[in-house]
Symmetry: C2
Subunit: 332 residues, 2 copies
């Protein structure tokens, strides 16, 4: 019989559809669907030498005359850097000026390199840049939430091959984030504990959904994973805001993320994926009930009308089997 | 400057990204991406004569020896018809037996016909079947929510060409539905009115986002539309549960939906889309604060890491322009 599972952190239900269950190896991407790209593309705004083709640079990790990692404005920003927050309320119509930040992190000089193939140190540099920009954006009093995310591949919503991620700072707290805060507070009310710390402790004790870990980070497939190979990477140390990550943790996160992306790359043949850092809203500080983390979502199935109509997901894999599959894949 | 808009019904924010705005006609699908299908496919389980290839029939509208519309079990049901609701709570792990219904409505005998090309009477028959199955499933005390939805085309999550829709009945109230109820109750607390009725009155007075209407249904693009051509079809009469739709309303809904789908078909060249009926949970009755409706979501853009990380959407079209564009398209 199929099973419904509830995500304790979001209260969302997922259907684990055993009747239509597929084995993890059925999700391996066919080789032919991957288009090879060159190491350098003269028309790419993110390739070295083409710096003038991208929007204004806001940060870089230099290397000689050049750079290792570079942050630029998004060419078509979803939010505008200039202007005041102005809220308009006209009956049922509620709106606000679209101020905030929308930047692109050019992760690497190489046009063709996937993060799954970076060195751990290269990936650590990218995470350091995330932290630097996060801290900077958080200083702006107009900013209420900061979302760090990556779109890898066409199914994940990008058409640019050069490895990059994005950082968006919004002038409101998204409803999804508000709901998660509410649920975390409720759990704290009932138990006196952080729901993320409690979940992590239990997952570590069970072990069956763990995929990889270092001293300070644990990657696992959640009990109520929304889709095949949906992964969470939790910091072991309780901490609410991503930008309070310590230097030793950056190295560990880079190693954990590198292992996870390497396992996806080699185990599923370079699937498209998104990852995103879920952190406490920008105006909040360290809170006992909230814990930042990183989520990785391979885009190997499509959402359809059921997901749209209910907000629930149907997952055709068993989280425990997917975790075992990924544990057995070598990340190199 | 971009604008943020808040959906008064869900409290969700959307970014209307004017900097990256695209004209409505930029979303017209290129002809070559559409694969022609035959009027009859001997291998299709939903084609007339192949009835034995599909799962057990639960309902039909007969026509002579055959049928006009047919309902069968989903071949790979996400939920099982048999069994009790058993809830298991083991610390942070919450689960439940996956009981419920998962049926397929074969909408038409023709393998190649899109609902955009049905007669209004054919579409009315399909809606009557939705109502009949909804009423039947609602009688089952294990059922908490019923989701009627359609996946049209591959980007919308279907691989079967034969026109069909689905009905799923779940043994829990999805969190999304719970949140919408809460917001509707809050609005009712503050104003003494249904938020849906209030929104509809205001949209009709303004007129700029209206796409089509009949005496009892209004189709419009919401003020805070999540994606290009995202549409709502609201019944004019306040009513909480879809299955309480009256016979005269079925004809009007069929006419409105037919017009909307026809406009999408001819204006955007048969885009993939999902539609879904949003109704009050099955165990609720008529309530002053809640109003059922139908949502249509063309799948012409992809969600990416920003949507996953924030739950917010970026819409690159102006709802008012998209509505004007669709108003001008003939549905035939």
């Amino acid at each position: 019989m199929p099973e419904l599972r509830q995500n304790i952190i979001t209260r969302e239900w997922v259907i684990i559809a055993t009747e239509r269950a597929r084995r993890p190896d059925e999700f391996v991407r066919p080789k032919k669907t991957i288009t090879p790209v060159p190491a350098f593309d003269p028309g790419c705004p993110f390739c070295p030498g083409n710096e003038s083709m991208s929007s204004a640079e806001t940060y870089r990790i230099p290397e000689g005359e050049g750079w290792k990692v570079r942050v630029v404005g998004n060419k078509f920003p979803a939010l505008s850097r200039e202007g005041d927050r102005v809220r308009r309320i006209d009956g049922v119509y509620r709106s606000m000026s679209g101020v905030g930040f929308h930047e692109v992190v050019v992760e690497h000089r190489r046009h063709d390199l996937s993060p799954a193939l970076y060195s751990v140190e290269d990936l650590a540099k990218v995470i350091r840049v995330y932290r630097q920009r996060y801290m900077e954006m958080r200083k702006d009093p107009r900013v209420e939430a900061i979302i760090v995310f990556k779109n890898h591949g066409e199914s994940a919503g990008t058409s640019l091959a050069h490895p990059h991620s994005q950082i968006t700072a919004t002038p409101i707290v998204p409803t999804q984030v508000r709901h998660r805060m509410d649920e975390a507070i409720r759990f704290f009310d009932e138990t006196g504990e952080c729901v993320f710390c409690t979940t992590l402790r239990r997952e570590l004790a069970d072990g069956i959904r763990i995929v990889a870990s270092t001293d300070s980070f644990v990657a696992f497939i959640p009990f109520a994973a929304l889709s095949p190979f949906h992964l969470w990477i939790f910091p072991v140390r309780h901490c609410s805001s991503f930008d309070e990550i310590e230097e030793y943790e950056i190295t560990d996160l880079a190693a954990t993320l590198r292992t996870v992306l390497g396992k996806l790359y080699h185990g599923l043949n370079n699937p498209d994926y998104n990852f995103s850092i879920r952190s406490i809203p920008a105006r909040e500080g360290q809170r006992e009930f909230f814990h930042w983390y990183l989520t990785v979502i391979p885009r190997i199935v499509r959402t359809a009308g059921f997901e749209i109509g209910s907000g629930m997901y149907i997952n055709t894999t068993l989280p425990e089997e997917s975790a075992r599959f990924l544990r057995d894949v070598l990340p190199e």
